[in-house]
Amino acid sequence: MSQPELTGAQALIKSLEMQRVEVMFGLPGGAILPVYDPIIDSSIRHILVRHEQGAGHMAEGYAHVTGRPGVAMVTSGPGATNIVTPLADAYMDSVPLVVVTGQVATTSIGTDAFQESDITGITMGVTKHNWLVTDAADIPRVVAEAFHVATTGRPGPVLIDLPKDVANATMEWYWPGPSDLDLPGYHPVTEGDPVLVRRAAELLLAAERPVIYAGGGILKARACEALLELVERTGIPVVTTLMARGSVPDSHPLCLGMPGMHGNYTAVTAMQRSDLLVALGSRFDDRVTGKVGTFAPEAKIIHVDIDPAEHHKVRRADIAIAGDCRLVIEELLSALDALGLPACPGSGRAGTPGVPAAPGAAGVVRRPGATPMDASPGAEPVPGSPAAAFPRERLDPWRAQLAEWQERFPLGYIGQAGEGGLKPQYVLETLRDATPDDTIVASGVGQHQMFASQWWRFEHPYTWVNSGGLGTMGFGVPAAIGAKVGRPDRMVWAIDGDGCFQMTAQELVTASSERIPVKIAILNNAYLGMVRQWQEMFYEERYSEVYLSPDLPDYVGWAESMGCVGLRVTAPEEVGPAIDKANAVDDRPVVIDFRTDAAEKVYPMVAAGASNDDIVVDPALGQGGR
């Protein structure tokens, strides 16, 4: 029996349905018109954005929290170029995206036709792969290939460019099987080399100052449980990078929190002084290593990454294992079994909920949440086994050192006083404690992002949605919307800067009309705060083009005009009540304009290009500005 004849456009939508796409984000136009017609009859929900950048970041937010590829569809020319930033963002952070762009008819390509742009050429460097479809019969196969490439190996964004005449042509429907994919050069690795895994396990047993350096690959590989098991069995402390926040609960006694330029003292210094760094799905980003030449000088490196090109790229690894983080960690656990370090009974998921300082209480506030490091967590080796040569007590001096640093250099700020601008940290602590543990937090890029990563307590994976590698201002609002679409059961907050908010706020119109009740906390310091901080510290307080304004635009009026509830908070005692009010709204978005203190800087800080040894903690906290 012959298959039905479909147009290319119908075949595209049917192919997306075959991939079990439930939602896509987009905005139509001339070249993609044929594809928008069958959307009317499709099971796929289409969310009409107000700017194509919003569609891309929404698709990213959706992918971050669901682990499924985000899908966006836009027209040719300006529609396509508007989505380049999200593609670049997703490429840097390994987010699986499938973006479909309309294109002028094949007969017009190369003629500077209306709304023609060479989007496959433009996006070659910011996609894992892209396709220009020239024959309608190729559509199902290309869609299947696109989803396969986006979601396997190191995930990433892909783009399918569909010329209008190809969308209008007819084809005989089919759906390709796995062997029909035409990808002769694509064979992602999965399992690690057992010889290397065994050697890595031996290093884990012998190390005296080890640190696990967990990166975003842990979340991409859905390896959090395996990682927790590794941490607990070996008793090795773990740092979670900006991309890996939540992969190990912040309350876990062995979780040291975030390393890097604005990481906490203990996480940064633990890496610096370690004798073994176990990099799992992390890539030695310059924001983590500081000056590479002086980074962790005594550490041997085990580097597990699914992308072999990450090995030895920045720092030569002693053991480089190419493979999926979850599978390799599971192999490591088996190797530890074999060496005589079995699973330990009970897990250390303990937490001490933090209580922020009451308004008006001046003095230093320390970040609560982390349980003090236990004297000797970890499994007991089997007597007589190879592991028995390395009793878990060997780690005691190291853990005592870490505990001492945690005690001496906690994250802190000068507490909220009754007057003056709100302390951003105080707002975040209040918000953190007034929302459920599994709240999803998205952020923009700037000081507010660093404060959020520092002061939130991430207890669950996939609760932090963030633009790490590209650092895209304006990511927060649309990413939060996409996250809420993916996880409607969760509370979703965006922590945004006033500068960031102004870049993509119009997507709140999308959220209102689609009834996507996200909540936005603007930490409104009236400045491009992060840039201001650098000008203050490195340009002698010569502030150049960083002042915005606290009340232009009127954020509350703007929010209301977009169908949101708008609230403004200027006094410390209003913070809690406003958050409670926002949390009670679930039929529309809420925006809170928190008027924060522009002078507040993000500490600790390792200056760009400086060594991590030269980490500076907040001089105001009176610890000698170490």
Binding site: G153, G185, V189, D307, P308, H312, A322
Partner: protein
């Protein structure tokens, strides 16, 4: 230039790619955006019409060879990469040049072409177009010897290469092939 026609800091990558539109742009774009220098590049059909072969001579001082190979390997249409050490391979290149020589000097150039086992491709009143094929180092020598007569045009194809064959009793593969991964 070394006796092999390239400095030791150059390496040859013989890359099998899918024979599809835009693949050369992907390869060239990768080198450009990651700051890897290309010394020469030649593209040609391979024995299999689904695949083409790109022979790239890379400057390994611009980036470690390992990084270049692994990044190249990540391009989806790249099917196989073979690294050829210049010392362990046979390289050939074609040179085509128009030399400004009139009837008096013509004989001298023709003689040189003969020494280098080349061919006279075209003869004009004041010009001569010649062709020489051979190891890149030989072409360098030829260029040096003919330059004084004056080149009107000079074109070289960029090299192609194959691994040197083993003459030992126990053969061992001295090339390194990168299996596609990642």
């Amino acid at each position: 230039m070394s006796p092999y026609g390239v400095d030791q800091r150059h390496h040859i990558l013989s890359v099998l790619v899918e024979n599809k539109a835009g693949v050369l742009a992907r390869v060239a774009g990768l080198f450009a955006r990651r700051g890897y220098n290309i010394f020469s590049l030649a593209v040609a059909p391979s024995g299999d019409d689904r695949l083409s072969r790109i022979t790239i001579v890379v400057d390994v001082e611009s980036a470690p060879l390992e990084q270049i190979v692994k990044q190249l390997d990540k391009l989806i249409p790249v099917v196989q990469i073979t690294e050829l050490d210049p010392a362990e391979s046979r390289e050939r290149e074609l040179l085509l040049a128009t030399v400004a020589v009139g009837p008096e000097e013509r004989g001298q150039v023709i003689q040189l072409v003969g020494v280098f086992e080349g061919k006279i491709v075209d003869v004009g009143t004041e010009r001569l177009t010649v062709m020489v094929a051979g190891a890149p180092g030989k072409l360098d020598d030829f260029e040096d010897l003919v330059r004084p007569y004056g080149f009107v045009e000079l074109q070289r194809t960029g090299r192609v290469a194959l691994p040197r064959l083993d003459r030992q009793a126990y053969p061992h593969d001295r090339t390194h092939q990168t299996e596609k991964a990642g």
